[in-house]
């Protein structure tokens, strides 16, 4: 039996994938995925550390309400990974603290 996956479940035939970089590492992204979805597909669950205790964070609410998923996209800090769709060539960085120290 072939393993179940979300893509198989909906019989997806995605358009050709593209790449983005996440902290210098190349990630493959399917068109239409948010940055958070792209990171989850790559097995990355956290991409931010908090301001005072440096705790790791990633997606929590998944719909733009909690602001836990902030990161830096093409030099702009504090972008919500669960809302922003990945674009070919995006330069994505983990974010420390307020994200304003870069």
């Amino acid at each position: 039996m072939t393993p179940r996956t979300p893509l198989r479940l909906v019989r997806a035939r995605p358009e050709p994938p593209f790449t983005v970089t996440f902290d210098e590492r190349e990630l493959t992204v399917l068109p239409g995925q948010t940055i958070a979805a792209a990171l989850w597909s790559a097995g990355v669950m956290s991409w931010r550390t908090t301001r005072s205790s440096g705790e790791p964070r990633g997606v929590f609410c998944g719909i733009g309400v909690c602001f836990d998923c902030l990161l830096t996209v093409n030099g702009r800090p504090n972008q919500r990974a669960c809302l922003v769709r990945a674009e070919p060539g995006d330069v994505i960085r983990t974010q420390e603290g307020t994200g304003r120290h870069e």
Binding site: L7, P31, A36, G62, G64, D68, L83
Partner: protein, 464 residues
């Protein structure tokens, strides 16, 4: 579109969509505004077009209803009767003499604001999930149940390989089934409520055979995927250093206390957790609409107490997609009639009103049973963060109440900064109220979204 009365609908979920279609069909010029790139809201969220899903309905129930709404929207947009503005985040609705100005931030950068003017406004902004804190709930891998569902439906991704679904409420079953169908191993579905408590509401349940059948269908699917269901149990802690590695599941007694010795560690790499839903009410609050508890208060026609402002769907009370559809239809018909200086024909919405009454009654019963037991407060350790944004631990909130004499949520906030961060207390509001032992009160946020100062200083452009 200038001759016809103008309606701005905020939110393109089930409620907003049905209302927009009903009003547009009766001669109203509708602008449908939503933050998402596609219509559908939380319930009818779908994979982005680039993902090429040929069977998107596999992640959904009631796909037919969605197809009707989607095709109806396309037809009305094509005919110029509905203008659909996507990726517009509404941050404020302003009352001008006889009309309204709806201000929205554009696109992912959100540094440009546009304005939509309208004679009437429908607030159909839905809700978000409530999660009460417990040790380890900030670890990566712990996500809201709805969030896991949202990421799956739109991005076709899973939070991990082995998932525990926990909390309370009717959303947990579809989430567990959805994750399992998409290939996750659902190690357990942990529900803190006791289904036996539904017996007290037997009459209400018996009046809703369709809902019972829906529950039975989910139960059958859970069995098919071999998901173990634990009722009257709770996840009392999440473990891991950089990310989730396991959770502790424990049995609860009738008072909601952990049964000594019942704790069991369940290895997992993700936890989808939810304790019910809360309505989005910020826009209603800034407009001065009366609230009823945490919901926007509405009359039989879904009118708020502010003339020209209607509200429908979960913003007026949590009750699922079918209730949102009924409320949206009533609101749309009422708006079309009132903008034409008429009262709506009661016959035109009698069936929707009947559905609304039944579903509200049903969800009141569900809400009564699926309430997290008060004892959750005792399981929150002093060092557990309550406010995720400002990193405020439970100890600080307890100190504010016990030693500094704070008697309400606002004072706790001022003393501890809980609720002052990015999310403006949306994530911690209910928990702070619970820990402080006071009722949750509306937060009175000036804006529904963080707004760059430059936007406040500039004259807005009209939305094109």
């Amino acid at each position: 579109m200038s001759e016809r009365p103008r309606l701005a609908v905020i939110g393109a979920g089930p409620a907003g969509l049905v209302a927009a279609l009903a009003a547009a069909a009766r001669g109203v010029a509708v602008t449908l505004i939503d933050a998402a790139p596609d219509a559908g809201g939380q319930f009818y969220r779908q994979p982005a077009a680039g993902l090429g899903a040929r069977r998107p309905g596999a992640l959904h129930h009631q796909w037919r209803t969605w197809e009707r709404l989607r095709d109806g929207l396309a037809a009305q947009v094509g005919a110029g009767r509905i203008r659909h503005l996507t990726e517009h985040h509404v941050w404020c609705v302003e009352r001008e003499s006889a009309s309204f100005a709806v201000h929205a931030l554009l696109g992912p950068e959100q540094e440009e604001s546009v304005v939509v003017r309208a004679d009437a406004v429908l607030l159909a902004t839905g809700g978000y999930e409530k999660v009460l804190p417990f040790p380890g709930w900030t670890l990566p891998g712990v996500v809201t149940a709805g969030g896991a569902q949202a990421m799956l439906k739109s991005g076709l991704v899973l939070p991990g390989r082995t998932v525990v679904v926990a909390g309370t409420g009717p959303l947990l079953m579809p989430v567990a089934v959805g994750l399992a169908a998409a290939g996750a191993k659902v190690a357990a579905l942990v529900e803190s409520a006791d289904p036996k408590d539904f017996v007290r509401h037997a009459r209400v349940l018996a009046a809703h055979p369709d809902k019972l059948a829906e529950g039975a269908r989910y139960a059958a699917e859970l069995a098919r995927y071999r998901v173990k269901v634990h009722v009257r149990h709770a996840v009392v802690a999440a473990h891991g250093t950089d990310r989730l590695e396991a959770v502790t599941v424990a049995a609860l007694d009738a008072d909601g206390r952990v049964r000594a010795g019942s704790e069991r560690r369940v290895p997992c790499d993700s936890l989808a957790v939810g304790h019910g839903m809360l309505p989005h009410t910020d826009l209603a609050e800034t407009l001065g609409c009366r609230l009823d508890g945490v919901n926007v208060a509405v009359d039989d026609e879904q009118r708020t107490d502010v003339p020209g402002v209607w509200a429908a769907g979960e913003t007026t009370g949590i009750g699922g997609a079918a209730l949102s559809l009924a409320e949206g239809r009533i609101a749309g018909l009422s708006i079309a009639a009132r903008l034409d200086s008429r009262a709506p024909e009661p016959g035109s919405y009698a069936s929707a009103a009947k559905a609304r009454a039944g579903l509200r009654e049903f969800f009141t019963a569900v809400d009564n049973v699926c309430t997290p037991p008060d004892r959750w407060v005792e399981r929150v350790g002093d060092d557990t963060l309550v406010c995720r944004c400002e990193e405020v631990p439970a100890a600080a909130i307890r100190e504010a109440v016990d030693e500094l004499g704070a008697g309400d949520v606002r004072t706790v906030k001022l003393l501890t900064r809980a609720g002052m961060g990015w999310c403006q207390g949306r994530m911690c509001g209910a928990a702070v109220a619970g820990l402080a032992g006071c009722p949750p009160t509306p937060a009175r946020r000036p804006f529904a979204r963080p707004v760059p100062l430059g936007v406040l200083a500039r004259e807005p452009d009209e939305a094109s």
